[in-house]
Amino acid sequence: MTNTYTTTAKALHWLIALLIFCMIPLGFVMTDMDFSPEKLQYYSWHKWAGVSVFLLSLIRLVWRVLNPPPELPEQMNQRLKFLAHMGHYALYMLCFIIPVSGWLMSSAKGVQTVWFGVLPIPDLLVKDKALGAQLAELHETLNWILVATITVHIIAALKHQFIDKDNLLTRILPKPSFFK
């Protein structure tokens, strides 16, 4: 019984993490920007990243089902284990729901999402200004929930590492040989 995630699972975790760390600030910056070519460019990049997060999360979920993650440490009590599972469940859910809410918002606002400017994602909603504004609110709220969940996720990881000292963090970090 291995005690770490597979290399694929690790790669997907960090790739998605990197995308999220870039695109959440980008999302807040671009919406506050004055109208400019850069603004339109950032919107497109944000959408491309969003579609990418969705697809990578899908691959990640399939991989997870085929390659179950390592067990949580035995010394964790049932309540903490439950909370940890709920936290991970929430992160996965948000990785799916947030891109979908963004895509629906784009669709309602009448700007189709075209992945990397090449692959058009069909518009599911017809243009509707009011609905677009509501979906924008939803998209933002969900992102704040994601920010909060990620914060808890990081704090929990650091707690395991520095307070519980159970070395849990190494399960998701690249092999030590990776840094040599």
């Binding site: 109208f35 070519p37 919107y43 075209v114």
Partner: protein, 198 residues
């Protein structure tokens, strides 16, 4: 019997001839209909363009038109359009504010865009080629485009589209003058309904 048959035949053919005559007169008179007043609520002038590879569209909500068009005498036709540029709608408030500004349409200095046809030629049944002068932002260019005509009871439907280059009219200057975000090609789509005057 033969005589009777031939007289029936004669009368049938004369009925047919009368029918043919009247019908041709009828069709002629209907085709001689002249369209003179544009029904604005059934007419649109829109455009589509690409933004970061994404097809987007917009329209001008208000315009007036003076036309005089007889499908059988297109050479005598007249058509002029006067567009209220400030009524541009590209789908978002922020976008609408932007395109009214100096770099785009500069609505304050150039509130109107116009098109005046100089020649309309018939190319096929109910198809025409229109030549005319398009003026946007003070710049005039001669354009040529195909137009389709469909008659619907006492209404005439005129539709068509043409591609212009925004650089020709200095639409999108400064930071917008590169075509990597907003493409140079803009397709204008028109759908004009005009009422027949007999």
């Amino acid at each position: 019997m033969t005589k009777h048959f031939s007289s029936v035949f004669k009368s049938t053919s004369s009925v047919a001839a009368i029918f043919f005559l009247t019908s041709s007169v009828f069709f002629n008179s209907s085709q001689a209909t002249e369209y003179k007043s544009v029904v604005s609520e059934k007419s649109t002038i829109g455009f589509s363009y690409k933004q970061m590879g994404v097809g987007s569209d917009g329209q001008f909500k208000k315009f007036t038109a003076q036309i005089s068009f007889d499908p059988v005498k297109p050479q005598g036709a007249k058509a002029s359009f006067d567009i209220d540029v400030a009524t541009i709608d590209i789908g978002s408030d922020q976008g609408n504010d932007e395109v009214q500004g100096k770099g785009w349409f500069n609505v304050k200095a150039f509130p109107r865009a116009t098109f005046v046809a100089t020649q309309i030629k018939s190319t096929n049944t109910n198809q025409f080629e229109v030549t005319g002068n398009l003026t946007i932002k003070g710049q005039t260019k001669e354009i040529k485009f195909p137009m389709k005509y469909v008659q619907q009871s006492n209404m005439g439907l005129f539709t068509g589209s043409l591609t212009i280059h925004r650089v020709d009219f200095a639409i999108g200057e400064g930071s917008w003058s590169k075509f990597d975000v907003v493409a140079n090609e803009v397709q204008i789509n028109f759908n004009v309904t005009a009422q027949a005057v007999k």
